[in-house]
Symmetry: C2
Subunit: 417 residues, 2 copies
Amino acid sequence: MSLVIKDAKIIGKEGNWDVLIDDGKIKSISEKEDGAKSLDASNKYLSPGFFNTHTHAAMSLFRGVADDREFWDAWPEVVWPLEEKLEAEDVYWGTKLACLEMIKTGTVAFNDMYFFMESAVDAVEEMGVKAVMSYGLIDEKDPDKLEDEIVATKNFVEYAKDCKNIKPALGPHAIYTVSRDGLEWCSEFAEKEDLLVNIHLGETEKETKDFKKDYSGTFSEYLAEVGLLNERTIAAHCVWLEDQDFSSLAENNVTVSHNPSSNMKLGVGKPMEYERMSEEGVEVTLGTDSTVSNNNLDMLEEAKTAALQQKMSGDATLMSAEECYKMLTKEGAKAMGFKSGVIEEGRPADLILLDKDVKATPEHDDISNLIYSMDGSSVTAVIIDGKVVMEERKVKGEKEIIKNATARSKQLVSGVI
Amino acid sequence: MSLVIKDAKIIGKEGNWDVLIDDGKIKSISEKEDGAKSLDASNKYLSPGFFNTHTHAAMSLFRGVADDREFWDAWPEVVWPLEEKLEAEDVYWGTKLACLEMIKTGTVAFNDMYFFMESAVDAVEEMGVKAVMSYGLIDEKDPDKLEDEIVATKNFVEYAKDCKNIKPALGPHAIYTVSRDGLEWCSEFAEKEDLLVNIHLGETEKETKDFKKDYSGTFSEYLAEVGLLNERTIAAHCVWLEDQDFSSLAENNVTVSHNPSSNMKLGVGKPMEYERMSEEGVEVTLGTDSTVSNNNLDMLEEAKTAALQQKMSGDATLMSAEECYKMLTKEGAKAMGFKSGVIEEGRPADLILLDKDVKATPEHDDISNLIYSMDGSSVTAVIIDGKVVMEERKVKGEKEIIKNATARSKQLVSGVI
């Protein structure tokens, strides 16, 4: 089926264009086209959709349960007890809720780590979003538990591997929650099956200090030893690193998922050292983390927050709107192994339209408007692999998702908060 | 004319309510009511509208012209030359554009300082928003210029004093741009006419360092000497203060307008010391500053940014969602001398409705949803003094405003950027 997006102002490109989509790919951006179905994009911006490189989607059921509290206060008392109560059906509706919010704010692909991931996969497939998805492997350094986690991981990868829009990945949660054996198994299995690997790294100062009690080297040395310092790894947070980690991450092509809102809201204590990462050549992308620590999945908001966080310390030139835009699109897609993120002929058609509303007036600089003024609510249409999953801000089944997610979340929090 | 808001979930209050508005005031929130006109608020939040305590509204014409650059690089090269070209008609359309954005994001009143303020007053009156408005007095320490600025200020106050929704105020721009004589005149005139006073204070480290070259005391000592350390003064920014300034501002009931996005985007170098201000009892409110340094006027976004800025340095408990909400509503209204900001019988009906959309799901905590997840685009209706100025996100004349503001701004930037 072909689709024409008519008269579109492509972000960062002069003039207005007709974009022809055929068989899920961008066939032409150069000519006036007529197709079976057309989307009017006059007075709209056309952009690649956004790529969120760190989420725990189903936690959208817990939005707002742990605000204004320290992680080590709120998580043991509220979040972990809630997660103990989780069932597969909760994860299904929580993931649907997250997908709905992502679609409504222009995200076309995300990188997830959580539990009951088979249910999460079902939700994502039904929503038509793309995702890298990983089961959060946590063995608490217990060999018996590792055995179980390996089985759960293998089952999940088997379940997800033939899904159209999903790339299964591995999810060793963090160095402090997974044994050396567990990390080594992940490395070997990832290489054998050709999978990406998600891990949390250097989120808090406590994590770094605790690590140094047991190990004399740096995070990157340890990751190298267990076989995870390579281009498969997407490391979330990376706030508390040591000097040599920066060059090691860069040289070994580890991707960083920077989560500024979550880091700030949980009080991690300092900005991520983006300037140093850029200088060393680390590939940095953007993630929202979960809605418990954010509390939304709006990537345009995340990008502005990222820029403000960098600039605050005294250099207004750090992390420009253009750099933010690249992280949201091209760099995010590349990190997750998707070929979209750029509007070029032959690329998969993972695209969004945004209303040129009051926040986009006047139009001195479209990338500036997008990053510093607009938010995800400006997104009017979302196209994934050429299929329109949102038009005029309407997503199929949204009322049912809100109803069911609300019901499941009410039941979960009952007696906990 | 009476109006009933039916079946509304009032933020922070259990249950759903009918709110009867009569003669511009909240008459009843306690009974089921039928009125001549009713607004259906089922599945919506009802809240006092927001109060933006620091703006340069007409600068909305310049949104995006000076991103990712230092103030002392971009302002002399871009912003000031643009302001040199400004005419009254530009300020009229720029202020209308800002009012439109404020209405669309739930702001019912703002505190403005700029030039050609008669035109700004006309724009605000036509839009139906409330405002404290001040002519930006800048004499560059030149006595002749001060004479002219006094005339301009007096003319503006005379022009605005009988406007329904507007409180004229004085606007000595800053200690570094106004002579001691100018500041003293403002103090005397403000007292004589019973006016609020807007001033920029301690925005950058350079400002503080330069000040110390000519004066041995602190900002607050100097303000006391010139007669501006009192309850009339709203001081914007207040990032770079000295120890004793905190207690002096508190004891003398100066209001601070905290502008986190602008401060961060311009790289002022550190967070405003909110914890210390709270401990000392300084009244803190929130402002967006202009769209050149923000780049929008969305107070919900500003509130989240404020909280994230505070927490980042290491204490996740600093500046809670509830404190943000109070600054947006009750504290902001109080600072500007408006009696709204609270939903109580007898208060002016300056109210907003917000859609409980996906960002407000689930509803574990409505204030958390509002501050940390939603943004201004969730606002569906705005009521000012009982009059509906936005319904179903439609504002009268918005297309004309966008068209004219776009045309004026294009003409202004031609040859400058």
